[in-house]
Amino acid sequence: MAQPLLRISDASKRFGGVQALDRASLVVHEGEVVGLLGENGAGKSTLVKTLAGLHQLDAGVIELDGRSFRQGNPRLAREQGVAIIYQEPSLFPDLTLAENVFVGRQPKSGGRVDWSQMRARTASLFADLGIDLDPGRLARGLSIADQQMVEIVKALSLDARLIIMDEPSAALTNAEVERLLGVARRLRDQGRGVIYISHRLEEVFQVCDSVTVMRDGATVASAPIAEVDTAQIVRWMVGREITEMFPKVPAQIGEVILSVEGLSSTGEFHDISFEVRRGEIVALAGLVGSGRSEVVRAIFGIDPITSGTITMAGTRLSRHTPSRAMAAGISLVPEDRRLQGLLMPASIAHNTALTVLRRLRRAGLVRIGAERRLAEEWATTLRLRYASIDDPVERLSGGNQQKVVLSKWLATSPRLLIVDEPTRGIDVGTKAEVHRLLSEQAAAGMAVLMVSSDLPEVLGMADRILVMREGRLVDEISRADATQERVMTAAAGAAA
Amino acid sequence: MTSLTKKVLAAAAGAVVIAGLATAPAAQAAPKSGLKIAVIPKAVNIGYFKGWNDGAQKACKELKAAKCDYIGPTQATGPAQLKFINQAIQQKYNAIVLSAADQNALAPALKKAKAAGICVVTSDADVADTTTRAASVLPASAQRIGEAEVDWIAQEIGGKGKVAILSAAATAANQNAWIDFMKAYLPKKYPNIQLVGVYYGDDDATKSAQQYNQILTEHPDIAGIISPTTVGIRAAAQEKKSKGGTVAITGLGLPSEMKDYVLGGQVTKFGLWNPIDLGYVGTYAAAECASSGNKVPKSFKAGSKTYTQGANGVIFLGDPATFDKSNITKFAAIY
């Protein structure tokens, strides 16, 4: 093959006491999609940020197109032909879509920003990708999938040689992922280089030409996609075998814990009725935006409902708030870990105890010792990896953060545990641990309601699957009858 | 000069003459030297009090005071002055000469000063509770000041038309007292003059200018404005200068600040007492008080003149002097 588009060799970077990159290497050719894989903390992110111009390596070589890559400046990185699409799109809610695409390099005429040219160019880029959005609207209120598309358009408008997709699919539904993969292929066909980062191995097999696996800051292996299989990749990533991804423990399904009757919220969802029983894991499937998260938020009392009833173990809940929901035995592990699940600057102990402070008081005062003991117990139970229980959770990896969120909610001894995208953005090893935990809890008699966009997870974990589409419950599938096709058909409507 | 002004001037002259002629008691000893005197203005940053302090310093020099410290807040409020009264108490000054920014708020502090054996003499602005200070040196009675200002405006507008008052803060005790007398005097003396309202400029240039404009907006046919405060009259004169207009402006102003407007024709005549004298006599009274058992003698000498206490321990220096084209340049150089 000709000279590679990107060649990174012996890249090292240290942050304080942490060796984030340890002589890592990576090669990307023109017209190639490279899957960059590894568990959280393996160093992918540092590598990506270096290419984004946000970091400088301590040592090592980066060559782009045979020329030395100038590091340490986002604008410079962009000018050298690198564009990045992040997992969580970061648009400017107060700017129009057109300006979001061209921010920082708006086309000018006569020294002034040329708004009409900007709109026209955005419109034509949108048309190229079949995106049906008005370039003149504000980004505020855009769905995550559409935001992701705008990010891609932004990357395309840069005419970048190297496009890095950093877990772009994490928040997308399958149909949207398909569209995304199509874009990645198209970029490859145009002769650009693509680095595709994802925790979903099936996507990697669909789109990538080769894979590079990282562990502990170093590159473990690189191979053409044809020469590897899932088991091999997972072995490289974790350094050991993962025996079972979906450890389903048999559970005794008992009486009804949660019963939802005709639940509606204007503009969000309509006439939702279902039950969750003791020992049962019920999955709430559907596309992002189909109203799944809104339903569980309403059950937990975050969002108001316009009509319908929520009954917990025979008691109807009224004037619903999160604290009343908690009192009734409901827990919610929310969708957005960093924003909704945790207090990022607060310690592991404080986060874990936040939901059960009432129990930890003596004479009105919170007992610090009891708080730490509680947190340490849960940390042990969930095999949390941490240095000190007083460390802020922002220092933990994504998977370990999710374990803290689970601790915090399991500590309330809920009768109903609601989990919203419980394994989004966490690595394979931890994912399996979370699955085992949920299964164990169900077996121990807890009712579990799980919202997930990860189909294998839904099929692997759920006793029953409820599918939502456009705010309505459209299908209910038992574990025995569940297939990917049936869930997708119900979620996407008859045409899919 | 109209007969009216003559009368006012005659009265003023008379007052000075009477004060001057009053014979001092033979036994009166000179005040002690080596006193520590605190001179506390409403705020250190107001030009008017520079003159006031000049008078105080002059008196201190003559009295051979050990210390004569000019201390005070940056904002003219009672609470802000409190700190400085406390400082004087802590540092065991013998006497305080005070222009009270708030007639009520300082009462507790002044009681404390009195208990600590410190002589407090108010000068320029008095407090409401007259038992909390030994004496007060004021320019003239509120009635005289209020009525004089009405006479000035009546003379300028020919005794008829609409008049507004542009005052300081709504709570300014001095101004409120004068305004009360103006309100009583106007209908009696000048039935053809209609007072349309009192506007508060808060002794703030911005607010005063805005209030001036407000007056003109609300009453385009306004004939005259009385502004019994140096900040207000200056702001009004400046507005009139920049916008033109025929409204007559008078009131109380500092000659140094008003010179331009008198020479420029925006203001024909205005008045003020001499702040230097107020500070000077106030300091003498304070020194007398500290020298003779925390009481100000019924009458005492300050420089060449002798002053006598009236009711409630008030010493009036005499009616305000008036300024016009003939004398403004001379006085502008002084204060």
Partner: protein
């Protein structure tokens, strides 16, 4: 959040600074450390202290109240008006305090029910409440309070040199310390400041807590307003002008982070005392009023700059110690280095948090 570690030492260090200041001042100026002067200082700072407590809580939950000075004055005004109307000082005191509560309630409702920015709302109510003071009192301050009432302003508690206003200050200090650092409610406040959405998802009634904090602020303004009325023996519509910035400055100087989620009551107490004692000391050694204003500004700037510079220094020392030889490049901004290790923690996730 690299400040978290230093934070503790900041309020400790200003406590130390306070002690040094008192010792140094006492040794160098004969008038400074006298009972009488301390009595005065404690009285002088009492309103700031009383309001600084709830303000600290508000700032910890990322809200602010600029209307406190106006609320205080309105409470004082209503106290005066009620005294004149009823002739009962007890009713008047109650009316004053309730006025403060009402002011806080209105702020709280506007902020929590309409979701308005508290900075904007309280700039508005600052003007509104001040205006109502003039409506209530017109041009005549009320000053005919009974002597037994106003004497409390300067007579010390029998047998001590402490002024009576120390009583509410000490009580409030203990209560606020207990509430913020000991109770579940206190934990809630830090939780809201560190992540209000996560707090909401943890069952904390965020809006209700904020509403109560505004009411509490109003209550303390009411109490401070009574103190103000007593100390100045009058109700006047132009009292406590510019107080709001002084209170906020003191709270921030005490180590409460304007970004929320961080702060201690000790820090606030030490900060207010340092402010009061240093102003008194400097005044007694002959500095003029303008210099004192400069000192206030410098103290406030130093209170945020020093911890930040020390933090950066520590960071760069750490960098130098760990970094392999012969490398170059700017150190990452504070806080990023650690977060970096977890791909989830670093910069790019915050982008989508605005909605």
């Amino acid at each position: 959040m690299s400040r978290g570690a230093f934070r503790l030492s900041w309020d400790k260090s200003i406590l130390l600074l306070l002690i040094l200041l008192v010792l140094f001042g006492g040794m160098n100026n004969e008038y400074f450390a006298t009972g009488d002067n301390v009595n005065f200082i404690l009285g002088d700072i009492s309103e700031i202290m009383l309001i600084a407590f709830p303000m600290a809580l508000l700032i910890i939950v990322k809200e602010i109240d600029l209307s406190v000075a106006s609320s205080l004055t309105l409470a004082s005004a209503l106290c005066g008006v009620t005294w004149q109307a009823t002739g009962s000082i007890w009713v008047a005191v109650l009316a004053g305090i309730m006025t403060g509560v009402a002011c806080g309630l209105l702020n709280g409702l506007l902020v929590t029910r309409l979701g308005l920015s508290s900075l904007a709302v309280t700039i508005g109510t600052l003007a509104l409440y001040r205006g109502l003071c003039y409506v209530a009192l017109g041009d005549t301050p009320i000053a005919d309070f009974p002597t037994e009432f106003t004497d409390l302003g300067y007579t010390p508690i029998a047998g001590t040199f402490l002024p009576w206003v120390v009583v509410p200050m000490v009580v409030a200090g203990i209560v606020f310390w207990y509430v913020l650092h000991g109770t579940r409610f206190g934990r809630w406040l830090f939780a809201i400041g560190q992540g209000d959405e996560a707090a909401e998802f943890s069952g904390i009634p965020v809006l209700r807590v904020k509403l109560w904090l505004f009411i509490l602020t109003g209550l303390m303004c009411g109490i401070a307003g009574i103190g103000y009325t007593v100390r100045f023996a009058s109700s006047s519509p132009d009292g406590a002008l510019g107080f709001e910035l002084l209170v906020i400055a003191a709270v921030l100087f005490g180590g409460v982070a304007i970004a929320g989620g961080v702060g201690t009551i000790w820090g606030v107490i030490a900060a207010v005392l340092i402010w009061g004692f240093s102003q008194s000391y400097l005044q007694l050694i002959g500095w003029d009023a303008n210099a004192l204003v400069i000192v206030s500004g410098v103290l406030l700037l130093l209170s945020v700059t020093i911890p930040r510079l020390l933090g950066a220094l520590r960071e760069s020392v750490a960098q130098r110690t760990f970094r392999p030889k012969g490398t170059e490049g700017a150190p990452p901004p504070p806080g990023e280095g650690v977060a970096e290790h977890s791909p989830a923690g670093a910069g790019h996730d915050q982008g989508s948090h605005r909605g």
